[in-house]
């Protein structure tokens, strides 16, 4: 203790040792999905603007709503909606996986790989289902 105190009081401080960061580890599916969970969360944060815009337009009147409908119907709007839907469903399934882990289950190698793979396969499948159902609800592609 005495040595530590003397060291911090006099002379330039030595940089503290750092533990190795992400780049020294082999990338694994669980790692990648953990990163994707955070990225989709951040994207959904700003995607909330779209929901707010849609609701405000509906509350504002037919003209404002027609503008939102026009944007969402354009190719860029559909691309954004597709990405938003996938991010939402992926973050939701990833969240369920984290809740399972929070309860202390699913930590065996095969279990965690399965859960992680199920997140990505599930989110892509669900996104396509949502879009097919959405197109049918609109009365087919136009």
């Amino acid at each position: 203790m005495a040595e530590l105190d003397a060291g911090s009081a006099a002379g330039p401080r030595r940089p503290r040792p750092l533990s190795p960061h992400l780049q020294i580890y082999r990338p694994m599916l669980t790692t990648m999905m953990s990163i994707v969970h955070r990225i989709t969360g951040a994207a959904l944060y700003f995607g909330m603007l779209l929901i707010a815009w849609w609701l405000i337009a509906a509350a504002s009147g037919p003209n404002a709503y027609a503008y939102v409908e026009w944007f969402m119907g354009s190719w860029i709007g559909r691309l954004v909606l597709f990405g938003y839907t996938w991010a939402l469903l992926h973050h939701m399934l990833g969240g369920i996986r984290h809740l399972i882990w929070d309860l202390g289950s699913g930590f065996e190698p095969a279990e965690r790989e399965f859960l992680t793979l199920a997140t990505i396969v599930g989110s892509i499948s669900l996104t396509f289902i949502v879009f097919v159902v959405g197109y049918l609800a609109m009365g087919g592609p136009r």
Binding site: R38, G41, A42, L44, Y45, M48, L49, I51, A52, L55, I56, A58, A59, G61, P62, Y65, A66, T85, L88, M92, G95, I96, H98, L99, D102, V130, V133, G134, A137, M138, G139
Partner: protein, 124 residues
């Protein structure tokens, strides 16, 4: 020097213990059915006229589900973005500004969306 008991009484660096962690879990559990409800509502409204959308979004059950979805999601994303900021932004002034901007953004977007639903519900 902090004894173990003293550290526990102070509830850690944030002085709130694991409250934020727990709130993020509560909002994530609530978020699953609420998100599914919101997705179903959006699909059901696709391609409908403005008048129909206004009527459906303003009906009590749909409006309550959408309000719960927005309030729950707003709190969840406030905690999430705060965690991201605390992980990556280390410069003190920038960190405080980012944390403030997070709060402003969440309140602005959340209240705007909630106001729109209330206006559709009460038709003012």
């Amino acid at each position: 020097m902090l004894t173990a008991a003293r550290r526990v009484r102070g509830l850690g660096a944030a002085h709130s213990g694991t409250a934020t962690f727990w709130h993020q879990r509560i909002t994530s559990v609530a978020g699953v059915p609420l998100t599914l409800a919101a997705v179903i509502i959006v699909i059901a409204l696709l391609g409908r006229s403005h008048a129909a959308v206004v009527q459906i979004l303003g009906s009590p059950l749909v409006a309550i589900l959408m309000l719960l979805f927005i309030v729950n999601t707003a709190y969840h994303m406030w905690i999430g973005m705060q965690e991201i900021i605390l992980d990556y932004v280390h410069e003190e002034k920038l960190k405080l500004l980012s944390l403030m901007a997070n709060t402003f953004f969440v309140f602005a977007v959340g209240f705007a969306a909630a106001y729109a639903i209330l206006k559709l519900s009460f038709g003012v």
